[in-house]
């Protein structure tokens, strides 16, 4: 399966929400990373057909998605941002309802539902009302329903928003598990969501796709620009206010600071290996669009 975005553009009045975004995606997990308002949800909404783009095309295995119609929808599993679902429905009823919406037969739907609920560890909550589920459990119902039709493309919009660390890790593992032989597009502004599981990261800034690469390659791009130094106190920190400070940790001897800088920093500064968070800060901190 190959997915191609060609010049996707969308503007709201004078604001350019998406500016000629083009990319090719193969099987694997793609982290769509960007600050709030960068255009992640707009891109996803155009992709799944919720929103009409101003121009551009989406090709699925070389075929125009717009011409595929419902066939295209059957290839997609989608989990929207902040899903609430129907509070009065039990988990099972909700899943069966989603099966009906996806055109899955009752028998097949029930089997697939039970299988998925087992995977997402909600088999015991089958009879529970959705309104009684925790945020994490609801998100797991969300990904389970997205996987119902065994889709070739899985779209997850901010799936870990509001989850505690344990649930976030659990969810991340689920995404990895579901990513085999399919394209997973994971939109988030939480770097750690994609750091460990994404094969490639798409960086969106002000509607433009500014980078698309593996996490390692993106980290490699800013090699030598991440510094660590120890300062005696807060006063000295003000000397670096023009730099991008990615982390400040207070210790007994003073403070440990992690700084992003194009220039070589003074004495005591040590170059360190960049992480994806540094990459995020590098592009979305004060940096300009490349």
């Amino acid at each position: 399966m190959e997915l191609e975005f060609i010049g996707l553009t969308k503007s709201y009045k004078k604001k350019m929400a998406l500016d000629h975004v083009s990319a090719v995606l193969d099987s694997g997990v793609y982290g769509l990373l960007g600050a709030n308002g960068a255009g992640k949800t707009t891109l996803i909404n155009i992709f799944v057909g919720i929103l009409k783009g101003d121009s551009g095309k989406i090709l699925v295995d070389g075929e125009d998605a717009a011409k595929l119609g419902k066939e295209f929808l059957s290839k997609i599993g989608y989990m929207p941002q902040y899903p609430v679902f129907y509070k009065d429905f039990t988990v099972l009823d909700f899943m069966l309802y989603m099966c009906a919406l996806k055109g899955i037969s009752k028998r097949e739907g029930r089997e697939r539902t039970m299988e998925l609920l087992e995977i997402v560890n909600l088999a015991d909550a089958v009879g529970k009302k959705i309104g009684a589920l925790s945020g994490g459990m609801r998100q797991r119902v969300g990904i389970a329903q997205a996987m119902l039709g065994n889709p070739e493309i899985l779209i997850l919009d901010e799936p870990t928003a509001g989850l505690d660390p344990q649930e976030r890790i659990r969810f991340r593992n689920l995404i990895s598990r579901f990513s085999q032989d399919r394209i997973v597009l994971l939109a988030t502004h939480i770097v750690s969501d994609v750091e460990f599981i994404a094969n490639e990261v798409l960086l969106l800034k002000e509607g433009k796709l500014i980078r698309k690469n593996t996490p390692e390659a993106l980290e490699h791009e800013i090699d030598g620009k991440v510094w660590s130094l120890r300062l005696p106190g807060n006063e000295e920190l003000s000397d670096y206010e023009d730099c991008l400070i990615s982390n400040v940790r207070r210790i007994e001897e003073g403070i440990d600071v992690r700084i992003l800088s194009e220039e070589v920093l003074g004495r005591g500064a040590v170059r360190v290996k960049p992480g994806l968070e540094d990459v995020f800060l590098y592009y979305f901190g004060k940096g300009e669009v490349v």
């Binding site: 057909g49 551009g56 989608y78 129907y86 009065d88 009823d93 919406l101």
Partner: protein
Amino acid sequence: MFRYEMKKLFWKKSLLLILLLFTVIDVAKVRQEYHSTTYLTDDRAEGMMSWKEAFWKLYGQYGGRLTEKKMNAFLKQYQPLQEETADMTASSIADDPQYMTGSAWQDFNLMEKYYEMPMKYFYLYGKNAEKAAKKAKENISFYQEHGNSYEGKKNAVIYHLYQGREIRDFSYMEMIHYYLYYDFSSVLIFLLCIYGIVRVFACEREAQMEELTVVSVNGGRRLVRHKILAVALYTVLISLWFGLVDFFSFAWFYQSLEGMGMPIYAVENFACASVGCSIWQYVMLSFAARTLGFLVFGMFFLLLSECCKNALMPFVLSVMASIASIFIGDYFANSSHILCKVLNPYFLVTNRMLFGRTEFVDVFGAPVLSYEMALAVGIFLCLSLVFAVALLSRKNVMVTVKRCVNCEDF
């Protein structure tokens, strides 16, 4: 999928509780209606008959086919009482065993209200209807001579409606009269329709389900179709439920189903009815018209639900629209502005104003009975609203675009 849409509408604790509460309120209201309207109570003087007993005793004698023999027998019993009470000196104390209820006054009042007056109406109705038909026939020739074809056609309809009308049987009509004039349950249906329907689309939006459904294969037009059908069925079922509750409550409290086979014009306020069916048939027809009226309102509420972002706004707008429709309806109820009646679906809900009178609407020179026009307008409004809901519902761009041939960009 339809099952789930119905479940979303009905399977709510709050709705079921409200339905139960409204049913109890409705039954209580019918009970109150019964106690405040009927004279046929069980109150009695010691050793005497109650009005109820006395009425049903007489009914055995005078109920059924109105014959000369029965009328004479009735007059023989009634006239002495009339004479006895004419000078207003008869005792009103209920202690005289020669009278059924214990006093001449009470016997006279009972027989006058429940026998003499309706019997007179039944007896004279045929003659009056014949007069109306005869006059209409004269009018046909008159208007044809003067080249007024519209009035000619109108009188032809009147002639066919009234010709041959007569009431042959005497029947107890009290329950039917009050049943046909009972509107309280319509208010309850309005409230239940508003409560159930305004949430249909608004709640999908609030639960972020709209985005999810629109991305599903069957989540577009098909889902909207199921939602419309579910709303229609919800409205019909609510309307049917209260229709049954009303009917059986009246039957229970008045303890009678007498008169259901009588013609509708046997009810005094339906003397000029534009339909000539039996009361049974009228009850069905009225139910159908009422349900159509609620369907129009229901689809309107659904459209509001479609257009508003949350459930509060369509709720407020629906309540306001219903109140406005009711007030306008009441204002024009007894007026000659027939168009105001046929265009307002409220008149389908309380349809006795349409069926109880012979009124016409001029449709391109053809006289159309107001109820026919109101039904046609109701069906048109309902279908238009369904169309608007389907048109305005959110669709998937990908699916919509596929329908557009040679579409390069989307």
